[in-house]
């Protein structure tokens, strides 16, 4: 979903990414038969060749669209990453030059750190969402729906609009946050135009915007835990806290795993808030760029397309490796009931 990136924008597709790896069910191929004869109206019983035709026809529109707008572009981008671009179009083979230039880019260490830091901070949304989901699970009646609605409003709101509101809240001179801080005697900084704070300020918004989404996934996971586990634990004299750590957390681990995979995937692609909350002429921008923002800058502002594509390829490889590592590690801590 796309959830939705935005949260939802980024999330919905990364959600499927995580699920995709084990989705390929075993399916038998149709045996080879005679050529399909469309002229005859065949009663479909074992009409495999006929089934083929329908299969291809039904897949065709999507397959052509994906091939033209996604698969071929992916191939092109990889090729571009090995080329340098002239001022008037035309690419020349450049070998690994773009990759070398990227690795020695003085902006890289800071951008890589910002991206990792943002993703790590974003992971803090997971314990928060688990706590809220677990508490919500104990409430009955109409208030459940009300809470769920309120927590979810940030998820569905347009990131461009949300960023505008938060920029206003973070405003150094007139912002509500600094006013509230001044009540307790703290003189707040200009949150989003100070390089020391901007990444944290963006991460707080990222967490705020995704808690409701995670909560829904955890709530669904909690529903799947049989009640009698808790009843048995209670008979054994286990208190609520003990039950949470010995029953809820282990049985929720598949959901936790899923959410942490998509959180890392969307965190490492962070772009929206840098553009929306900081903007191009912000003094904090130099200290707050992310890898995805560097990509955008190189390709669409600086006309360094080869370099930009090298960044995209590196980002992809890192994402795939990290996801693979997470799938490896899951055997150690994820319990499938």
């Amino acid at each position: 979903m796309a959830v939705t990136r935005t949260p939802l924008t980024g999330n919905s597709s990364s959600a499927a990414t995580a699920a995709a790896s084990d989705a390929l069910g075993g399916a038998s191929k149709a045996g080879s038969g005679e050529r399909p004869s469309l002229a005859r109206r065949v009663v479909a019983r074992h009409g495999h060749p006929r089934e083929w035709v329908w299969g291809y026809l039904m897949v065709a529109p999507l397959a052509l669209g994906l091939a033209g707008f996604y698969l071929w572009p992916i191939v092109q981008s990889v090729y571009y990453s090995f080329t340098s671009w002239g001022a008037f179009g035309g690419q020349q083979w450049a070998g690994l030059a773009n990759y070398r230039a990227f690795l020695s880019d003085p902006q890289l260490p800071k951008a890589a750190w910002n991206t990792v830091l943002y993703s790590l901070l974003l992971l803090a949304s997971i314990p928060a969402s688990i706590v809220f989901a677990a508490l919500l699970n104990q409430v009955r009646g109409r208030s459940v729906g009300l809470y769920r609605t309120l927590y979810f409003i940030p998820v569905v709101s347009m990131p461009a609009a949300v960023a505008m509101v938060w920029r206003w809240l973070y405003n150094g001179d007139y912002g509500l946050i600094n006013y509230l801080l001044s009540l307790v005697g703290i003189h707040g900084p200009h949150w989003v135009s100070d390089g020391r704070f901007a990444v944290y300020a963006m991460a707080l918004v990222g967490i705020w915007a995704v808690v409701g989404y995670n909560m829904i996934i955890f709530a669904a996971g909690l529903k799947g835990i049989p009640r009698h586990y808790y009843e048995a634990a209670e008979l054994d004299g286990a208190g609520r806290v003990r039950q949470f750590f010995s029953i809820t957390l282990p049985l929720l681990s598949p959901s936790i795993f899923f959410v942490s995979v998509i959180t890392v995937i969307s965190g490492l692609q962070m772009f929206d808030y840098v553009l929306l909350m900081l903007g191009r002429s912000n003094p904090a921008l130099a200290d707050s760029k992310t890898i995805a923002y560097l990509f955008y800058e190189y390709v669409f502002l600086d006309n360094e397309q080869g370099m930009g594509c090298a960044i995209a390829v590196v980002l992809t490889v890192v994402l795939l490796l990290l996801t693979a590592v997470q799938f490896r590690l899951q055997k150690r801590w994820v319990h499938y009931a």
């Binding site: 979903m1 796309a2 959830v3 939705t4 939802l8 924008t9 959600a15 990414t17 390929l24 038998s28 191929k29 479909a44 089934e51 329908w54 299969g55 039904m58 897949v59 529109p61 999507l62 397959a63 669209g65 994906l66 033209g68 707008f69 996604y70 698969l71 572009p73 992916i74 092109q76 571009y80 809220f132 104990q138 409430v139 609605t149 927590y151 409003i153 569905v156 347009m158 990131p159 461009a160 609009a161 949300v162 206003w168 001179d173 007139y174 006013y179 705020w208 409701g212 996934i217 209670e234 553009l275 929306l276 669409f300 594509c309 960044i311 995209a312 390829v313 992809t316 994402l319 795939l320």
Partner: protein
């Protein structure tokens, strides 16, 4: 768990809910103030109810035009995705044909790749077609969705086979079965995908940002983003505009809350 006293639970949940909603309340309050009130220190909590800020949204940016652009883009994408994805998803889930699994693997590979990888070539395609700065161009790549196909395929796989078998024994062909038997059964899945696509399309930023430079062709997300870049500091009007831009999605969520949460929980469980 036991029904012990619930008030501490409610307290924590209410504090969390307040944190979720407070920014929107502040946005609403600011949107009804004069610039003087908004930039007053200490802040003004009760506004002067300046509703004219909402009128100004329509004069200070092409809000109505961009709103309609967003609606058109979203409607076309949802319709196309529902059609293309459901057809392909059904074929992937239930029909047998050579090369099916390879095709599906290719589809999954699209899902695993971040959007930065195909962004530039997509931009070039539009440039060659002369579709930069057009609604057609914004809509085009989003007509096809690997995610939507994947999601619906999983949904079709979760449906029982016997209804289909019965229809087949009655002599119905694949198209008939797909259209009259499977699609009605898959309605919850289709609605979930539709709602998620509406959300994604409405809020989508990066793609329309790179392919539009003409304010009249922008969707709202890009319109608001460029407005911030121009150092417009009339905060009350900005707050009014951003509230209006989010409102349709909040309204849709309130109406279709169950579908959205089910859709998310479904993608989470697969």
């Amino acid at each position: 768990m036991r029904s012990q006293r619930l008030w501490p639970v409610h307290v924590v949940l209410a504090v969390g809910a307040a944190a979720m909603v407070a920014p929107f309340l502040w946005q609403l309050l600011t949107s009804l103030q004069t610039l003087g009130e908004a930039t007053h220190v200490p802040p003004t909590f009760l506004p002067g109810w300046r509703w004219s800020n909402y009128g100004e949204v329509f004069t200070s940016m092409p809000f109505l035009r961009q709103f309609l652009n967003t609606v058109v883009i979203t409607v076309v994408r949802v319709a196309a995705q529902l059609l293309f994805c459901s057809m392909a998803a059904y074929a992937f889930a239930r029909l047998r044909f050579p090369g099916r699994d390879v095709l599906f693997l290719l589809l999954l590979s699209v899902l695993m790749v971040p959007s930065q990888v195909y962004l530039l070539p997509q931009y070039q395609i539009l440039m060659h077609l002369g579709l930069l700065n057009t609604l057609t161009g914004i809509v085009l790549p989003g007509l096809f969705s690997a995610f939507g196909t994947f999601m619906l395929r999983q949904f079709f796989l979760s449906l029982p086979v016997d209804v289909e078998e019965a229809a087949r024994l009655d002599g119905a062909g694949p198209v008939r079965i797909f259209w009259s038997v499977m699609l009605p059964l898959a309605k919850p899945g289709l609605i979930s995908l539709g709602v998620l696509t509406v959300l994604w399309s409405w809020n989508d930023l990066l793609w329309p940002l790179v392919v539009t430079s003409d304010a009249g062709q922008m969707p709202l997300s890009v319109g608001l983003a460029t407005l911030q870049g121009e150092h417009v500091t009339d905060y009350p009007v900005l707050m009014a505009g951003s509230l209006l831009a989010s409102l349709p999605m909040i309204a849709m969520f309130l109406v279709s809350q169950r579908r959205i949460t089910e859709g998310i929980a479904f993608t989470g469980s697969k």
